[in-house]
């Protein structure tokens, strides 16, 4: 396949997801409602508990990260979910499309949408709770967002693989399992407070390291020696694994007939 065709296929998916998102009122709801509710409730709780400004920043960073990752990973999962819901999966896989086109195209839309959510939540955090996302500077912020986007990509592709492997009945299980892993990643607390067995899981989540690196700029000592490098290395490893799992799931679905069943 030529580079032109590669880019065109990615663009086709990007445009499709953007159009679907722009026309669905529920997509808009999930884009704004839950993230705003999250920041307001956590921010107000931190005020009630009389947390210091640094402590409030700690939990708000986690809340915003969770929203950014959730919105972006949901969009990546739409690479398959939109076609599963509309029963058009077989048309998609009848075309010369690879999972790289599907996931990259969806990820681009996911990054744009979650960046919009981030800007909104950052503005809300500043206005309501005096929280400054730019306090660490542009580069740490960009690295933090990159970490969120990479984690979202891994999670979204993992959801795609699970759904393609077990059918749309596995949808709820897929969401629950990946969100559980995210919550373990020190969203609201340092992972040092977790029981040892759970802390091992948290240490395996890339987002843990990006949160750690970003929070260090708010006065919290880093728990890891090279958090950004570790986060990037883990992201690369999981991205490769998730891609392979999704590819294997598609091949299995072609073998078992699940690809056709999900289109009926």
């Amino acid at each position: 396949m030529s580079w032109r065709n590669e880019l065109l296929a990615v663009w086709a998916v990007t445009l499709r997801n953007a159009l679907m998102g722009a026309r669905n009122v529920f997509f808009f709801f999930e884009l704004l409602f839950w993230p705003i509710v999250g920041v307001l409730s956590i921010g107000l709780m931190s005020r009630f508990l009389e947390l210091t400004a640094a402590q409030a920043s700690f939990v708000l960073v986690g809340t915003i990260a969770l929203s950014v990752v959730n919105v972006c990973q949901l969009e990546v999962a739409y690479a398959v979910l939109l076609d599963v819901w509309s029963k058009s999966l077989k048309h998609q896989f009848l075309a010369p499309i690879g999972i790289r086109h599907l996931t990259l195209g969806s990820w681009i839309v996911g990054m744009v949408r979650s960046l919009a959510v981030f800007v909104l939540l950052a503005a809300l955090g500043r206005w309501a709770f005096g929280f400054r996302v730019l306090q660490p500077g542009w580069l740490p912020l960009a690295t933090f967002l990159l970490g969120c986007f990479l984690t979202a990509w891994v999670v979204g592709v993992a959801v795609c693989a699970l759904i393609t492997l077990f059918g749309n009945r596995a949808e709820a299980f897929a969401w629950a399992s990946v969100n559980l892993v995210l919550v373990l990643a020190g969203i609201y607390y340092p992972i040092s407070v977790l029981p040892d067995a759970i802390a091992v899981v948290a240490r395996a989540v890339p987002l843990t390291y990006f949160l750690d690196a970003y929070r260090a700029h708010y006065g919290f000592e880093s728990e890891f020696r090279a958090p950004i490098a570790t986060g990037l290395a883990l992201s690369a490893l999981y991205a490769a694994l998730a891609h392979w799992a999704f590819l294997a799931a598609i091949q299995r679905a072609r073998r078992t007939g699940l690809l056709l069943k999900m289109s009926e």
Binding site: A9, S86, H91, L94, P96, R254, R255, G257, L260
Partner: protein
Amino acid sequence: MLAIDAQDVEKTFRSGWPRRRETAALRGVSLTVARGAIVGVLGPNGAGKTTLLSILATLLTPDRGRVTVLGHDVVREAGALRRRLNMVSGRPSFLWSLRVGEIIAFYGRLYGVSGNALRRRVDSLIELCELVPYRRIPYSDLSTGLKQRVALAKALVNEPELLFLDEPTLGLDPDVAARVRTHIARLRREQGITIVLTTHYMREADELCDEIAFIKAGRILARGTSGELKRQIRLGEVIALKLDPARVPWLAESPGVLRCVEVDGWVECTVDEAENRLPELLRALHAKGIVIRNVQVREPELEEVFVELAK
């Protein structure tokens, strides 16, 4: 030159846990299709028609057998093959919020068409499939017939050399179905596309197909032109007579007559060979003083072949 060369294709579906159920969908199917031909795959529900088409279209991998489509192995060279074929299914479904033009354009981009070429392709397909007034209508707001036409437009977006039509007129009004059949015939005539179609409508198969393969329980039981199939299973020919008096019970006992039935005031006698039996029957009727008001000779309908083979 062959568009499809499938030999001894087997496919078994496994389901259930912990007790696994196995369903043999294809049990050694062999099928060859010449380039530019329209071949119909007929058979009762669950016969394996859709499974066969799905394997040929790379949506399903075979368990055993060798399948070459347009010179490509369907498993090892599926990527290259997908650029050259397309498919329409009986109950098409696309993303609900996308408009007609956007759906066709989306798939066009996946096949590497862009810019002005894409705009021209989308315009011409919308015109060909009579979708001009519906171009900006979301897919979810379309009627069944219009959805089928969108599916046909989408299937032509890559100018395929081979087109699979899985029940293309299922659930359509007769006039819409007739228009879809006209499109299909025109595609072969004007563009030389090879077409493999499955259908439950015998008239459709009779009208469109150069050849018909009859599949049942995962095996191809018979294959040939519509006429060859009718001769192959020896259904005989039908001599329809309008007589006065209308009822002549002894006709069924005449030599060479296989059976006689009364249909709408006609006596339809199925005979082994109409050419020899017709003069004999006419002479016998005349000798008994029975008035012959009308006579027609016809081959059995393809539907009768289907019923016979499906038994």
